[in-house]
């Protein structure tokens, strides 16, 4: 797998110039490199998964990185390629998990209860975040699944059109179209006052 770096790779790089060195060290079996790869990329991946409404985010993140370990030997490319690869693996896992849940529905009450009991930091910030999350979820709920996927990968995953097209397995033109239609839907929603931000 090889993806050419995009112009704004340098801007969003968490590794700086260390990515190649870290990748080589991980391939050579350096334990520290695995931690470095995880810490620099997992938070963004987990954010995308949470916004997508994945019920078991930690499980998907853990399984994603285990697959990375198994197949890193065949990976070559830049940091952007690595991120694209990560999101592709995670999305496949989410789709598989959703299919399994469709066959065997599970009660999500347990997860919701655990989230309610989770420790909170600043109460005001948490309340604002929850309020904002509700509004944003409401707005996202008016998009199609594909439009939502494109906007979440672009906004939260920080991926370019070409990278999103690779994650979704679609042509860049189709991704652009999905993005445009999604943004148009959001504008219409906001202008009609259906959702107030």
């Amino acid at each position: 797998m090889s993806v050419s770096p995009t112009p704004h790779d340098e801007e969003r790089s968490g590794f700086g110039n260390r990515f190649d060195q870290t990748l080589d060290a991980a391939k050579a079996g350096g334990d520290w490199a695995w931690g470095e790869l995880y810490r620099e990329t997992a938070p963004i991946l987990a954010r995308y998964l949470r916004a997508r409404g994945v019920p078991d985010v930690d499980d998907v993140v853990g399984e994603t990185y285990l697959r990375v370990v198994r197949h890193l030997g065949s990976f070559t490319g830049s940091e952007a390629s690595f991120r694209t690869w990560l999101f592709t693996i995670a999305r496949h896992l989410v789709v598989d998990s959703a299919r399994r849940r469709t066959r065997r529905p599970v009660d999500a009450t347990a997860d919701a209860a655990l989230l309610a009991l989770a420790p909170v930091g600043n109460a005001e910030d948490e309340a604002m975040a929850l309020l904002g999350a509700d509004v944003v979820r409401d707005a996202l709920g008016r998009l199609t699944v594909d439009q939502r996927d494109v906007l979440l990968l672009r906004i939260l995953g920080d991926l370019s059109i070409d990278e999103v097209s690779q994650v979704l397995g679609r042509r860049p033109g189709a991704v652009k179209m999905l993005q445009s239609r999604g943004l148009a839907t959001l504008r219409k929603t906001f202008s009609e006052g259906a959702v107030t931000i």
């Binding site: 079996g29 995880y38 938070p43 963004i44 509004v135 944003v136 906004i155 445009s180 931000i197």
Partner: protein, 255 residues
């Protein structure tokens, strides 16, 4: 294409896309573009902040353990992509498990290749041997081998003799009557021999007859000693298993 030639909707879409790109890159000037869209992007990022997964340490530990496990199994994460530039000093090989599976598969294939033709040949050979259709030496060998395992297969000789009898072979006919005739003569001879044996018995009797003759001589000697005579009579009695001996006892009675 000038802006005036672009339809209003498409023009708006393009503007919105550019505005969105500027928003994503943080290059959107304040007060420009749709405030709702800006609020949505900011709200989305605020609602789902970048947070370290709760089980970070567990995940990293699992990654390291998995990497070590792969390396132990002969499938290291580091795998040379190409040897085009130069031979790699430590080239990764197939995992041990796969290697063992391939070895087992190769052995199974080899065994199949060897035993399948042998089984087919043995079946064909055995069938022909059971039918007695093999050449004589092979048929004898097959019969011997089958005899070792308790099977009975005709050997070549019996088949030939039966064939010869059935075919009316002149040699067999010429030989057999001669042998039969000889057997009959032999039987006749045997009968005569039985007679001669009877004669021999008579001869034995004659020998017994000669014994009293000797005894009679000794009787003459024994006439001087009664006790010796008695002993001599006992010896005669032993020799008188035949009636002829009684006549020699006559000599004794003279004593």
């Amino acid at each position: 294409m000038s802006p005036s030639s672009v339809p209003p909707d498409e023009m708006g879409t393009r503007d919105h896309d550019e505005e969105f790109e500027r928003l994503l890159h943080g290059s959107q000037p304040d007060g420009v573009g749709s405030p709702e869209l800006t609020a949505f992007v900011d709200g989305l990022r605020t609602a789902f902040p970048t947070r370290t997964p709760a089980r970070e340490n567990d995940h990293i530990a699992a990654m390291i353990a998995s990497a070590h496990l792969l390396a132990d199994n002969g499938d290291p994460v580091a795998r040379p992509v190409s040897n085009a530039d130069a031979p790699v000093s430590q080239v990764s090989r197939l995992p041990k498990q796969r290697s063992a599976q391939m070895k087992d598969r190769n052995l199974g294939t080899l065994a199949l290749k060897v035993f399948a033709p042998v089984t087919v040949l043995f079946t064909l050979f055995g069938g022909v041997a059971y039918a007695g259709g093999l050449p004589d030496p092979l048929q004898k060998s097959a019969s011997n081998v089958a005899g070792w395992v308790g099977l009975t297969i005709d050997d070549g000789d019996q088949g030939d003799t039966q064939d010869a009898v059935e075919d009316g072979d002149s040699q067999g006919d010429a030989t057999d009557p001669t042998q039969d005739a000889t057997d009959e003569n032999d039987q006749g001879g045997d009968a005569q021999d039985g007679d001669s044996q009877g004669d021999a018995t008579q001869d034995g009797d004659s020998q017994g007859d000669s014994t009293p003759t000797t005894d009679s001589g000794s009787d003459g000697t024994d006439s001087q000693d009664d006790s010796a005579d008695t002993t001599s009579n006992d010896g005669d009695n032993q020799g008188d298993s035949t009636p002829t001996t009684d006549s020699s006892g006559g000599g004794d009675s003279q004593d």
